[in-house]
Amino acid sequence: METLAWLVLILPLAGSLISALGFRALPARAPAVIGTAAIAGAFACTIGVLVKLQDLDAEHRQVVFVAWDYAQTAGVDAKLSILIDPLSVFMMLVVTGVSTLIHLYSATYMKGDRGYARFFSYLNFFVFSMLVLVMAGNFFLLVVGWAFVGAASYLLISYWYRRTTATTAGLKAFVINVVGDVGLVLGTYFIFRHSGTLDFLGTFETAGSQPEGSLTAGCILLLVGAFAKSAQIPLHTWLPDAMEGPTPVSALIHAATMVTAGVYLIARMWPLFEQAPAAADVGAIAGCVTLLVAGTIGLVVTDLKRVIAYSTMSQIGYMIMAVSAGAYAAGLFHLMTHAFFKALLFMAAGSVIAAMAGEQSLDKMGGFRKAMPFTFGCFVIGGLALAGIPPFSGFFSKDEIITLVGERGGWHYALYTAAYVGSFLTAVYTWRMIFRAFWGKAVPEAEELEHGHLHHAEEHRNPATGELEDTDVGFPGPEHHIAERSAAMKVAMGLLAVGAIVGGLLQIPLGGTDVVDTFLEPTFEGSQYAHLHASDGFTTLSLIIGTVLAVGGIAVAYYIWVLKPGLSAQIQARFSGLHRLFANKWYFDELIELVIVRPFSWFGRFGQQTFERVVVDGTFVGGTTLVVRAGSAAVRALQSGLLRAYAALLVLGLVAVVFYFLLQS
């Protein structure tokens, strides 16, 4: 098992290095093959690990492998150690499985791009980082994986690096992720202070004996890390901007893997969070707020990818809420189903964007239903799963979360209610997107496609700024690829669509199946919420509410955007204040600009222009050199060069000496 586990890490890294180092020597299409094969190999190895892990007794399904001591000194025990247990294997399966399909999709989708090798090198590196994150056996390696993922996402977001918007978005993502890293490291310090070890298992053993204040502080700081990576309020602003990256990147990072890291973190740290209930409550509330806020923004955004991005934020809110409230398996189950249907939606969106030759605005789309039947089908499947229509996968996972949160009782009923509001919003904004892109009058691009001709833009413009694109470095490539015309893309999307349809069957409530629960049980064995189960009546009630709200949401969307096309404008005019608030994303960007960015740059400028010149250069350096100069000037004045003056001094000195001795005697 040890070899297999390390291979899971090594294969993506090797793939990344080979693509990177061999970019001149390799044939043009080789990076895609290497990259996809590496991840597929990692997936196969993960399955091997899974099989071997299941062979062990339930109590022993927690294995640690150490490669070498990394920084072990003065009481700090940072090793390169990985922890294999059901939770990490679960995450590995999701990450490698979905990533394989995304690689497959990219192999065609990015064909026209100049930086093909670079792209696959980054992509493989990203998967490697994500695997480090989920396999880490101690806090140190966790932070390393955490930051690698941040760096990889930076590289991928600013992949088209001639776009100023892309580089800015990349920088933003990186910096917010560093804030998360800082939170994570500080949280680690708080916990380490009393546990004395960085090792996960060792730390969890001491969880009960940690002083509560310190542990709560530590856990809240861990949450900062989780929020930054999972785009929860108030550290979410990077996620919508990150849509500047190529679409497969959005699918990989912003749907399937990276943003779920926060969920994984909280689930992994459950022994600590259960000892610090205040911190867990903070997580649950923040998740709940995020799912509502993101849902409202999703209603008004017009950029196709950004709608899906806000929907991601909202769905991650559900997961964070779930794992913070103790519904670990439910949160992770939703993580898995979400990975399927959200990656599917992003891929389908990529196909539509390709048909639009790079244009992303919903305002300019319409009527693609006939032109792109396969993409349309994928969109519908993804949309139904996301909205939570039975028997699609999202239905089971989302409703399990909501039910279990409600089961906690007390103020959790507020979360329960809010989650249902969110699920209604989800249905509305998802189907708004689908109706606007696929229904209605066919736009010229769609008509062109119906006649078998893929639209080709004469000149490419940045959808965000209207700036002319620089196609020298590849963007967006001379040719575009849609799913209808590529077998690889079809396979990738088809497999995900199957996952999105049947994924929910792993865990059917009311005595159906509970594969995920059983599999994860060894990890969450000691938890006080391990046996949190809703009564059949409550579950049935919740399932009915969920279905009604989802269907209702789709109906509302159909009414507004298909039946009465003018209605949305009227609503906008009626609630213009609210619309402006949503369209400006609740003014979070402006707030951060005002509170953090401006004071810092003001401080920097003040330092540069005033303080540096007056105090540092003037007072300190100027003062010191002035004293030295004045001293040397005084000494220099004596060196008149006048021979007779020297002689006189000599004589005077002699006389002084003589006098001294005379007086002494």
């Binding site: 000494v635 220099r636 004045a637 004596l638 060196q639 008149s640 060069g641 006048l642 021979l643 007779r644 002689a647 006189a648 004589v651």
Partner: protein
């Protein structure tokens, strides 16, 4: 005769020499006055030598005379060289050493 008188003469000659060095601007005169100072010291050395009754002081005096001779030779040579080049012969003008 008491040694005091010798020393008195020596001191007076030394002072005259020192005064000359300090006040005169002609290097020739300065050299002469330096010579006076040296000889004042010689006088004192010889007086002490006689008082102690051994030759140590006289040895010193002879060495001083040798050094003085060398010094005058070099000094006069420098002055003559300066004169040949048409430089002004005035110690106050030679101020290249000022800081």
């Amino acid at each position: 005769m008491a040694i005091g008188w010798y020393l008195a003469v020596s001191a007076i000659v030394f002072s005259i020499g020192a005064g000359g060095v300090l006040t005169r601007r002609n290097p020739l005169v300065t050299l002469l006055c330096l010579e006076l100072m040296l000889n004042a010291a010689n006088l004192a050395l010889i007086a002490f030598s006689r008082m102690h009754g051994n030759g140590d002081g006289q040895v010193f005096a002879i060495i001083v005379m040798v050094v003085a001779a060398c010094e005058v030779t070099v000094g006069l040579g420098v002055i003559v060289a300066m004169h040949r080049r048409g430089l002004i012969i005035d110690v106050d003008e030679l101020r290249e050493l000022h800081g």
